[in-house]
Symmetry: C2
Subunit: 405 residues, 2 copies
């Protein structure tokens, strides 16, 4: 399956319609899209995963509850306000907004899931949003997938979308996905909103299994700053129209669908890292030879989140000592005198010793690339894991030190 990044073209998927409007959530009186709607023709099978943060937003709570039915017909999304830590009022606001949307669409409100992203702790500008709903519903005839992808952007500099086509015994299927996220990005369910649509009927239970697996292999393998947000939500909807094909039970068909979902998630996860706040590079930190997969992940995350490692990446400095130092404090037992380390394919440490060849200039040159890999072999087992991370730049600080207003 080929993952194609959408770039501004009007992209469609059978069974789903889209719309977005400027509702003045980010800033009143501007024409920046900040309120979006995705609607399927019929209730679609659906599954979702949400933030692991103890503090979660009102829309997350509602989404968790509503997706238990395994069905979803619409997603109501906004940027500019996370509706997090807004107490009972926040929950009431999200319920009111989905109710008003349901009424305008003439569907069951339990079939609408809300998603919000933006500043934590401010009440939603509900009146302005309610006012935007008729327009949002009207624009479903002309709106595009890309409109919604743009409406959920916050510090993102580009909309993040994927499209891919798959083939099963029952026939072909298509998948379309969008995501937002650039900061507060960390494993344990990356910080983001993400919706993936498929035009084939898939049993909700199986959809859920696929999603958990795809999420674990994609969004849980990226980090920008190690912060996990209150609003992370990833929802997949499948089917959505009366004449949709149904995924067969053959294992090859199931694998084909799962694999497509994994590709879609990985495609979006990679775009999130590429667009990480202030990021100029994407680095894959790959740990192999660990006592287990979990231990490999633990070491990879420690390296991928170390400010000293990330600033060295930014300076294109093959400061391998910082990498090994980070690994050493991950709480995973290994023999420091028996490991291999390479940066950008250039071996630097072999068998616990600096290589005798001249590695410095070669590694420095490899780090000039926009993407490169760091590979650490602990030679203590078969466990392996990769985390995609960014460099840490002055720009990251500038973006996040900027006053909220």
């Amino acid at each position: 399956m080929k993952v194609i990044k959408l770039t501004g073209i009007k992209q469609t998927i059978r069974g789903f319609r889209f719309s977005a409007v400027p509702a003045g959530i980010k800033k009143a009186g501007t024409d920046r899209l900040d309120f979006g709607l995705i609607l399927s023709d019929t209730p679609a099978q659906a599954a979702g995963v949400t933030t692991t943060n103890l503090v979660f937003a009102a829309p997350v709570e509602i989404t968790r509850k509503r997706l238990q039915s395994g069905l979803c017909q619409a997603v109501l999304l906004n940027s500019g306000n996370a509706n997090a830590y807004t107490g009972d009022q926040g929950k009431l606001d999200a319920l009111d907004l989905t109710a008003a949307t349901a009424e305008a669409l003439r569907i069951d409100p339990e079939l609408i899931v809300p998603m919000s992203t933006g500043v934590i702790g401010n009440p939603l500008p509900k009146e302005r949003m309610l006012h935007g709903i008729p327009d949002l519903v009207k624009k479903l005839d002309s709106g595009t997938f890309m409109d919604v992808a743009k409406a959920i952007m916050t510090t993102d500099t580009v909309p993040k979308t994927v499209v891919l086509d798959g083939e099963t015994g029952s026939g072909p299927f298509k998948m379309l996905g969008m995501a937002k996220g650039a900061g507060m990005i960390s494993p344990d369910m990356a910080t983001m909103l993400c919706v993936i649509l498929a035009d084939m009927n898939v049993r909700a239970g199986f959809l859920n299994e696929c999603l958990v697996e795809a999420n674990s292999a994609s969004f849980n393998c990226i980090t920008v700053d190690g912060d996990t947000s209150t609003n992370d939500t990833l929802v997949v909807m499948a089917g959505g129209r009366a004449d949709a094909l149904t995924l067969g039970n053959k294992s090859s068909d199931c694998e084909s669908f799962c694999s497509a979902l994994k590709d879609a998630c990985m495609g979006l996860a990679r775009q999130i890292v590429q667009d990480g706040e202030g990021a100029t590079k994407v680095i894959e930190v790959r740990v192999v030879g660990a006592p287990s997969k979990e231990k490999a992940a633990q070491v990879a995350r420690k390296i991928a989140e170390s400010p000293l490692v990330k600033t060295a990446f930014h300076g294109e400095d093959p400061n391998w000592g910082r990498i090994i130092c980070s690994a050493g404090r991950a709480g995973v037992p290994f023999d420091p005198g028996n490991l291999d380390l390479s940066i950008g394919g250039v071996p630097i440490v072999r068998n616990g010793k600096l290589v005798s060849e001249d590695w410095e200039m070669a590694a420095h040159t490899a780090m000039k690339n926009r993407e490169f890999q760091v590979t650490l072999d602990l030679r203590s087992g078969d466990g392996e894991w990769s985390i995609l991370t960014t460099d840490l730049s002055e720009e990251y600080v500038t973006i996040n030190a900027d006053y909220r207003s």
Copy 2:
């Protein structure tokens, strides 16, 4: 007891002599001090704590072993090179250097502990250092405490020293301490070298108990970037001269000494944070009302290490949502709907709700101070803990993205 920062004055403590020379470790042919020696007249009682990193430097290994005797007569320190991840050669180098110093001093090499700080992974320039030893020993007659404090600086912008006087039933005592550290600073034994000297005989076992307690309440409560180094070493030496008084057994005397040691450690720890790489502010993150002290520490550290919180500190932005979001991912159970949060003494969240008063401008103003406190009351128990942290500035990135050479 009053902690006084030393500022350039020639400071002395009975029983100890000091010296430092430029040995060309940082850069050959310059006159930057990078090699230092502390010598006590007689073997002093000694205790130490060292890094918790699985990857530890050669001098750390030697120091751990030699301090088991509870005695130490000299400390040989260098900056510019950590002698970490340098394998068997690194250990041999440290042994050779302490042996040559012992010979020149005519003392037992087992009574000398080495401390190194600087870049990881490069062999020590041993020949140049051996060459500097005669000079180092000769200068013991004229060298100062401040010379050594300067010789261990790396990215530090100022030397870090404390002096304090205490009183016991056996008579008065004096304590003198020095430390280096500005980056790779994190709890679990802060990243640094530190030597504290006292002019009173104290049983090594008791000295060790005091040190563990003082370390836990000071250096383990600070963070700059969450990275723990390979070289962290804190050594305390007590006595050191033939006519030194001996600390009595009265509990008030013991408390007096322990309290002085704690004050000395805290004084140095605070200076390390104040001089944190790129830091423009020192923030005390105080968590109270946690289920236990350990849980309070876990939440405080998560907040104190969050890049999003630290950049908001830098921007003097009372972005309280980021603070609560960080707390929520610390893995500690609490009720988000029942907490209190204040920044710089300005209440923002009370009982899980934003206060009705106008807090924004007051909190922003409080954050303009060079030091302020963030207090989070989880209202879930009696556990409390504080961590001192810095803001995260563009300057931190610039310092650390700079190529090593």
